[in-house]
């Protein structure tokens, strides 16, 4: 008996639920030295801005207990170079490509979407409204329901591509943020981005990262991310991509049970380059063992009442 691993996120159909998270797979070339990108549900490319960005000075990263803090500063080649130099390779590799975009003005988000809408080989757009690293970056959008709705609306007008809004966890009420995104016309939400955090070098009496604060990712944040996904699923039943400290098949399954139709693997790619592939294989074995014909039937299968709040 074959297992149907495909999942649907609104208009977006993926061959399987395992995706690479933005900023943790660059533009795919390096990962294809490890395994063929076409194996995965999708790759979400590093956040693109209109102009190329050099990123932040060192230190950009520091390890924390079961996690890591980063402040890359949205280093990226810019949308033009991406379309010219990176996208053709991804097309050649038959990767399912979701392009993540970031900006500081609604017009720029819209401009990015319009530019990408002209390209072939893009399966969807993910809106980074939550990057906590860059001063002029996205935090403001991601922490206000009004701003989220406006950004999504602005982008929605420029493209028919499936639209995913990637939410920030640095909020009181994640459900209202997800609702704001869906209200604006988003087809799905992905959550979570990194948690704003800090590590101090007590010898230098300075933060370790050059920008002071950065974004926390990895297994440390997993229980909080999982709670948020469950809250959003319980309240809205909208298409969800689960992200946050997913390291193995068990983690992926717990996110899917909590309501995620697909999951993104981020920090795990650093620890274990084959993690996404192993998760994919693990999901297949699990489905076989449990006699599940369509993995999608596991989504939201958690037996529990939301008791938060």
């Amino acid at each position: 008996m074959g297992v149907d691993l495909s999942v649907r996120l609104g208009p977006l159909k993926l061959k399987n639920p395992v995706m690479l998270a933005s900023g943790t797979a660059s533009y795919g070339e390096e990962i294809s030295r490890v395994y063929p990108l076409s194996r995965l549900g999708a790759i979400v490319t590093k956040s693109l801005t209109l102009k190329p960005r050099k990123g932040n000075p060192p230190y950009r990263v520091i390890e924390t207990p079961s996690g890591m803090l980063n402040s890359i500063g949205l280093q990226n080649v810019g949308v033009e170079a991406f379309c010219r130099e990176k996208l053709p390779y991804l097309r050649k590799e038959r990767a399912t490509v979701i392009v993540n975009i970031a900006a500081k003005r609604i017009e720029d988000y819209a401009g990015l979407a319009a530019r990408l809408d002209r390209e072939k080989g893009i399966a969807g757009i993910e809106l980074n409204v939550s990057c906590p690293n860059v001063k002029e970056g996205g935090l403001e959008f991601g922490t206000s329901t009004r701003c989220i709705t406006e950004v999504v609306r602005g982008v929605r007008k420029e493209t028919r591509l499936p639209l995913i809004t990637k939410l920030s966890p640095n909020v009181t009420d994640i459900v209202s943020m997800a609702k704001a995104a869906m209200d604006g016309g988003s087809d799905a939400v992905s959550l979570v981005n990194t948690f704003l955090a800090m590590v101090v070098d007590i010898r230098k009496k300075k933060p370790v990262l050059s920008t002071g604060t950065g974004g926390l990712s990895g297994p440390a944040i997993r229980p909080v991310a999982l709670r948020m996904i469950w809250q959003v699923y319980s309240a809205l039943k909208c298409p969800i991509i689960g992200i946050g400290g997913i390291m193995n098949t068990e983690d992926a399954l717990s996110f899917m049970m909590a309501g995620a139709s697909a999951i993104q693997v981020g920090t795990a790619n650093y620890v274990n380059p084959k993690a996404p592939l192993e998760i994919l294989q693990g999901l297949e074995s699990y489905a076989k063992k449990e006699k599940i014909r369509r993995i999608e039937t596991s989504v939201g299968s958690l037996r529990a009442e939301p008791s938060y709040g």
Partner: protein, 273 residues
């Protein structure tokens, strides 16, 4: 960029203490051993659990029988502490080869390989390649390997280099062994002796790996003497293969990634802070 990266659970085939806080770890990893070249590195997962979370980058001290990798390392923190516990038969999660390589002089040249502490690690492999008739095509007497150590307790691998025909020249900070002083001072005296009479001397080539202040001093010597110089640098490397952009280092007017643009850089590229 087209070479595959191999990930495997490498079997530990041995581990010996070679000096104070310093170990030589042997791993069986044929696919990596076959491909890896001097200057490149691998990532080693130090823990089965998530603290420490990230893998650690290590140079290759020596490749044996295209099958085994020897890693020379110093215990400096939690990751290397965990590594030191590994016993024969255990398995460690590793991946590679990663990063760029040292270059070989195009013609006959005099090469100085300067290692500060475990910064010596990549230089056995490089020395072996340099004197290999098929690879570096250099004469043994033209390859000089310098090791700087805190004191005599921190000296390792002397016999390996002797056997290779490129014996170590050693400097210790406290003079308890070899030259008394920093290895960069030893280098300076050697550079002063150069050109060596009476033959028309071959051009010079510098390689260095070690703590930042040492690298900086070597870079300054290289500049002063106008010698081509390649430095293998250390950096926090979450991924080691170019996907996180976390290992940025300053180069003139820009950033480069230590893991894919490096770890080997031309001395003149780097910006010292």
């Amino acid at each position: 960029m087209i070479h595959p990266i191999h990930q495997l659970k490498a079997k530990v085939t041995g581990q010996i203490k070679v000096a104070e806080e310093s170990f030589l770890l042997s791993l069986e990893a044929p696919p990596i051993a076959k491909m890896i070249r001097p200057g490149q590195f691998i990532q080693i997962g130090c823990s089965e659990k998530y603290d420490p979370l990230l893998p650690r980058p290590f140079s290759i001290y020596r490749v044996r029988q295209k099958r085994y990798l020897d890693i020379l390392y110093e215990v400096v923190g939690c990751g290397t502490e965990e590594m030191a516990k590994a016993k024969k038969g255990n398995r460690l999660n590793i991946f590679g080869p990663l990063g760029n390589t040292f270059s070989y002089p195009k013609k006959r040249a005099m090469s100085f390989l300067v290692g500060g502490g475990v910064g010596l690690a990549p230089f056995y492999d490089l020395a072996e390649a340099l004197v290999d008739p098929k690879r570096g095509k250099q004469r043994k007497e033209d390859v000089k390997v310098l090791l700087g150590a805190r004191n005599r307790k921190r000296i390792f691998c002397e016999n390996d280099f002797k056997r290779l025909g490129t014996p170590l020249e050693i400097a210790t900070d406290d003079g308890s062994y070899g030259y008394k002083g920093f290895v960069t001072q030893l280098l300076e005296t050697l550079l002063r002796d150069h050109p060596p009479p009476p033959t028309p001397h071959p051009p010079l080539h510098l390689y260095a790996c070690g703590p930042k202040p040492m690298l900086r001093a070597v870079a300054e010597l290289a500049k002063k003497h106008r010698i081509p110089c390649e430095l293998s640098i250390d950096a926090h490397m979450p991924c080691g293969y170019g996907i996180c952009f976390g290992c940025a280092v300053r180069v003139n007017g820009d950033y480069k990634l230590a893991c894919t643009d490096g770890p080997v850089f031309k001395a003149e590229e780097l910006v010292w802070e």
